[in-house]
């Protein structure tokens, strides 16, 4: 029966090929969308697994997440060093790492941070960053950089190479910071996350990029710092700015929260400052970190603070407390929550794509039914011949179902091949743009479920022409009507 079904399809191979193609398209589309969605979600979730809170200038949480963890877009103005110190001093905070963003190296985001970033950052469900080669940038030095695996691979960089950064986030920049070259001190092992596409320098190094020039108007935080005190040393500016903010915040705070409890809290936080510092120093000592906690360089402005908690149960309380911070108006973003928000935005598009995929699948199956049904009339002769040599109506019906099964199987295989080809073509772009790398073949049970579902649906659909064949062969018997 299999051979006959195959032969019969081969006899109509043009139509069969078209049918298979439409099924293949739907398979590729459905699996592709599903795969893209899963990979995107995994990739994004993996990129931010170690961070409990991201503190950034008040703004949209999705935007903050994108700008910080994924280096796409920018946060608001900036945070003062005071804010960082305040956050770091909070009782619940286990660690806090300052982050500076907004520059790029040949299109890849440059991040200014501290050495402790490499100790605290986690990806892909709690894995530490590891160095494929070299070591973190020196604590006090400003001319060293650590690069992600993709950056190293793309440009063929090795330890000791000197790179030059550009200002801004665009791929093409006319504003090259030739005066602030960096020597690569370390290359991170591949993580499969956004980290692979980043260049890390020290806070001092990051500021160095901007040190000897007049930044363009377009640069928000640099412009602000210039406006505040063009000639003053960094720390003085910082202090002034922080004070101003403080006063403002205090004012608003007093107005809205007249009860004493908040004040107590604040006092408590102040009290714990010293303790916290002490703890940290101890910790750092144990970690044999060469430069434990005195920040070698205190920048004017930072863009965000990554925060890890001592006890993650305190996260909501801390988040609330941070939004009432007196130094700067900040948002404290829980990465997982921001991701959920992001998915709720992209979810509509995903659903639209999936619906489209299933609609194509439906069209493919209707095409198959049309093809099988349309040829039934002309095949009555064939069925009568088969009956005359002993085929039962059941076995002829079975032949039609077998044909449908062959078409579906062919469509599914062709769809997988199509998807593999499309993935192979798209992977370089996806990888460069979004840090996603899709698997070429089925790798998850979920895919298998979808494929089996499609196959079963195809067989069910084939019952329509099959039922017609059954009645037809019973009625026709051996008479050949043409």
């Amino acid at each position: 029966m299999f051979g006959l079904a195959f032969g019969s399809l081969w006899n109509r191979r043009f139509l069969a090929a078209l049918t298979i193609l439409s099924i293949a398209l739907s398979v590729a589309l459905i699996l592709g969308v599903e795969r893209l969605r899963n990979e995107a979600r995994n990739g994004f979730a993996n990129s931010a697994s170690g961070i409990d809170l991201i503190v950034a200038p008040r703004g949209n949480s999705v935007q903050i997440l994108m700008a910080t963890v994924f280096g796409a877009g920018s946060t608001g103005t900036g945070l003062t060093w005071d804010t960082y110190q305040t956050v770091e001093a909070l009782d619940q905070v286990g660690w806090a790492v300052p982050m500076q963003m907004g520059d790029n190296h040949r299109g890849y985001p440059v991040i200014g941070t501290e050495r402790s970033y490499f100790d605290h950052f986690r990806h892909s469900g709690g894995q530490m960053l590891e160095f494929a080669e070299g070591r973190p940038f020196g604590a006090g030095e400003s001319e060293e950089a650590v690069i992600g695996a993709d950056v190293a691979e793309r440009f063929g960089y090795g330890i000791g190479d000197v790179i030059v950064n550009a200002h801004g986030l665009g791929d093409v920049s006319f504003d090259m910071h030739d005066e602030a070259p960096f020597e690569i001190s370390g290359i991170l092992a591949r993580t499969g996350t956004a980290t692979d596409k980043m260049v890390f320098v020290s806070l001092a190094g990051f500021d160095e990029i901007h040190a000897e020039r007049t930044p363009p108007e377009a640069d928000p935080f640099a412009a602000e710092s210039i406006a505040a005190a063009p000639d003053a040393p960094a720390q003085d500016v910082d202090h002034e700015g922080a004070d101003g903010h403080d006063a403002e915040a205090e004012h608003g705070h007093d107005e809205t929260h007249a009860d004493g409890e908040d004040h107590d809290d604040h006092g408590h936080a102040d009290e714990s400052h010293g303790e916290d510092d002490h703890d940290h120093a101890d910790d750092a000592h144990g970690d044999d970190q060469e430069d434990p906690h005195d920040h070698a360089h205190e920048p004017d402005q930072i863009n965000a603070i990554y925060v890890g908690l001592k006890d993650r149960r305190a996260i909501l309380g801390l988040q609330r407390q941070l939004t009432e911070l007196r130094t700067d108006p900040v948002s404290a973003v829980i990465p997982a929550v921001a991701l959920a928000e992001l998915w709720s935005i992209t979810g509509t598009a995903e659903r639209a794509m999936l619906v489209m995929g299933w609609a194509v699948a439906l069209a493919g199956m209707i095409g198959m039914i049309v093809m099988l049904s349309a040829t039934l009339e002309t095949r009555r002769r064939e069925f009568a011949i088969l009956r005359s040599v002993g085929a039962t109506p059941g076995s002829i019906t079975g032949m039609i179902v077998t044909e449908a099964a062959l078409l579906m199987a062919g469509g599914i295989l062709a769809g997988l091949a199509l998807l593999a080809a499309a993935t192979a073509l798209a992977n370089p772009v996806l990888s460069a743009r979004f840090g996603l790398s899709l698997p070429l073949w089925i790798d998850v049970p979920q895919d298998l479920g979808i494929l089996l579902g499609l196959f079963a649906a195809g067989l069910v659909a084939a019952l329509i022409p099959a039922a017609r064949v059954y009645r037809m062969t019973l009625a026709d018997g051996l008479s050949i009507r043409l």
């Binding site: 029966m1 051979g3 006959l4 032969g7 019969s8 081969w10 006899n11 002769r381 064939e382 011949i385 088969l386 009956r387 005359s388 040599v389 002993g390 085929a391 039962t392 109506p393 059941g394 076995s395 019973l474 018997g477 051996l478 008479s479 050949i480 043409l482």
Partner: protein, 234 residues
């Protein structure tokens, strides 16, 4: 079941069949029988019920009343699927035209009964393909290119000979032929019947040959007027 038994290859009695919506029965055959190894020419005008009779013998049609035995098996007691099995195992059929699955090669067409009947396949010998080729050669189709060419590329005469080979393969007890020569020219007709008779005889099969063309009558052991047989026909 055994064809060495004295019982006829085909026997029918008290056969009555009425097409739904018709008053008079199309078939009303009190008794009919054909012995193994015999050939019978059954003639009658078109539309007299010959094809209906063949369909009943082939087990495609279930006559409400009467008894049909093929190679000793009582069809009337069997259900549809079992009658299909009896046909596959014991009957070879040849039609007027369009006997072949057009996209299958000649040899594969000949082998079709072996797909549906283990018995026919077993009777076709250890290598059914060789048996098919031998039958085709005996019927004058020994060009190896013909064996694999799709059936639709063959001439009508060649197609009918392939159909004959298919009816004969696996040595069924009964060959039913329904006007198989009507699309052939005079010379081809005689050649075809001669070949078919010889093959059926050497296989020990009963050949029931139905036609309206009485000029073919002398080529058979016996002949019978269907209208005389079918007493109830209007």
């Amino acid at each position: 079941m055994s064809q060495t038994a004295p019982q006829p290859a085909i026997s029918a009695s008290g056969l009555r069949f009425v097409w739904p919506g018709q008053a008079a029965p199309t078939l009303d055959i009190p008794a009919f029988s054909l012995d193994a190894g015999q050939s019978l020419f059954l003639y009658g005008p078109s539309g007299c019920g010959k094809s209906t009779f063949l369909a009943a013998l082939a087990g495609v049609l279930d006559p409400g009343a009467g008894r049909i035995e093929i190679a000793g098996i009582d069809l009337s007691s069997l259900g549809g699927a079992k009658r299909d099995r009896v046909r596959a195992d014991h009957i070879g059929m040849i039609f007027q035209v369009f006997n072949l699955v057009p996209w299958l090669g000649a040899r594969d067409n000949v082998l079709l009964p072996c797909r549906y009947s283990a018995r026919r396949k077993a009777s076709a010998g250890p290598d059914p393909k060789a048996s098919a080729d031998r039958l085709l050669a005996e019927l004058g189709l020994d060009d190896p290119a013909l064996a694999t060419a799709p059936a639709r590329t063959l001439s009508v005469g060649q197609q009918q000979r392939v159909a004959a080979a298919r009816a004969l393969i696996g040595a069924p007890e009964v060959i039913l032929a329904d006007e198989p020569t009507s699309a052939l020219d005079e010379a081809a007709k005689v050649r075809f019947i001669t070949l078919l008779r010889a093959e059926a005889e050497s296989a020990g099969a009963a050949l029931l040959f139905v036609s309206h063309d009485r000029s073919l009558e002398p080529h058979f052991d016996a002949s019978l007027d269907f209208e005389a047989l079918n007493g109830g026909a209007a």
